[in-house]
């Protein structure tokens, strides 16, 4: 479904991704963990070309992403949930959810609104349809952002630290929605520091450090018997 092949990324002189190779199968839930600055976010952002790799190839559903086709391919295949939600503040929640379906996926207003209400039910915020994003709590905004991603009905949803900007007490409501989503056949790539979530939903966990994947495996292997010293250290610090 997603394939990164020898992906390198430089920001100026900074080598943030070093020859990253990664494949994500259809329906797989992949969780990327690692210390900050390790290239996790850059990796997922390469998957929808928010960052264009300096070298290497990105394939989505067998088609190579290029600067030329990215808008079309991304529109049809991927959605993204951001750390800072990035809802459109000048639109109501309903309009946030119906904009892309109506303008990009050629749905009628009626179809788009039905879709929007359906996914508002999924995230439990139907009653906020006519509210404006800035009047909602962080947790609610992120659940709306997830509903917005779902409205595109793409096979892939990328999550870039979806709970890192949230109050501790609203993190769980967002994670609960994501855990429910994980039961669907959606391909999910999640960058997170939530180890409980990783353990519960991940089919596979990838650990990144210094722009490289240094260990990957199933959660049971990962949390019980990590091989790499960096991973042991990291998990030792983060899991109490």
């Amino acid at each position: 479904m997603i394939k990164l092949e020898n992906v390198n990324k430089f920001f100026g002189d900074l080598h943030v991704l070093k020859d990253v190779n990664l494949e994500v199968a259809e329906g797989e839930k992949l969780v990327i963990i690692g210390p900050s600055g390790s290239g996790k976010s850059t990796t997922v952002r390469c998957m929808n070309f928010l960052e264009e790799p300096t070298s290497g190839h990105v394939y989505i559903d067998g088609e190579e992403l290029t600067n030329h086709n990215k808008t079309k391919v991304v529109r049809q295949t991927t959605s993204m949930v951001f750390q800072q939600f990035n809802l459109y503040p000048h639109m109501s929640v309903l309009r946030n959810l119906t904009l892309a379906p109506m303008k990009l996926h050629h749905k009628s207003r009626k179809e788009a609104e039905e879709l929007a209400y359906h996914y508002l039910d999924v995230v439990g915020l139907r009653d906020k349809a006519h509210a404006y994003p800035t009047t909602l709590s962080g947790g609610q905004q992120q659940r709306i952002a997830i509903a917005r991603a779902l409205c595109a009905e793409t096979k892939i949803i990328l999550f870039d630290e979806p709970t890192s900007a949230l109050d501790p007490e609203t993190i769980q409501e967002v994670l609960d929605v994501m855990i429910r989503l994980a039961k669907e056949n959606i391909t999910m790539v999640v960058v997170t520091h939530e180890m409980g979530f990783a353990r519960q939903v991940a089919d596979r966990i990838v650990f990144m450090a210094d722009g490289q994947i240094i260990e990957e495996g199933k959660p049971e292997h990962f949390f019980v018997s990590p091989e790499n010293e960096r991973v042991k250290q990291f998990l030792g610090k983060i899991i109490r």
Binding site: L50, K72, M80, F82, H90, T135, L166
Partner: protein, 245 residues
Amino acid sequence: MAELFEASAWEKVWTYRDTFLLGLGNTVETALLGLLLAFVLGAVFGLMATSGVKALKAISRIYVEIIQNTPLLLQLCFLYYAIAFAGASLGILYTGVLSLGIYHGAYVAEVIRAGIEAIPKGQFEAARSQGFGYAGTMLYIILPQSIKIILPPMVNQVVNLIKNTSCLYIVGGADLISLTYSFVTGANTGGAYAPAYIVSGVMFFVICFPLSTLASRWEGSLKKRESRVAAAPKTSAEARRGAAV
């Protein structure tokens, strides 16, 4: 200033009222066409400046810097005499439209650039992640948010452009200021300085004052809106980050 209190001076202005109205008409015509050009140039160069394409950014920068750092009068004379020496004639109306349009276009470009750059990067990224192209991103997501930031300084540009029609005097224009000057220095009409300039000033004021009032109203309501948004509940994570900075 003695003629300020002479009925005959005011009578003279009244007798020649058509001169003032003609000047006003010319000023308004020049200003409207000039504005049209300024908006077009401003939109094109403002979008170029925010396109992220280096060459386009550079072209936009050069235009803005040259225009903003030389006097309008110089640009006006240059345009007028350059065209005259080239053997062509634009006529005074189009010379005015062209020079005012190019001059204010540079300022409008900066207003639009600043309006677009004020929108957080996350908005562009959200739009791109949904599969919006450049036009869709601008049309549905960025410009509707920028417009509130752009409007007040844009209206100031409109007011400045209207007032700057007075520069046409230097190349023998037929705008309100030029005709007022011809009137007060004319062989048959001369002398009524104070009444003539007061009438002319009132005409400018009547057009410009409502516009600037509108602009400051907009600015006021924008600030109010901003403070409401800022007062909206922040996550404590955001608050912590804010405190750390």
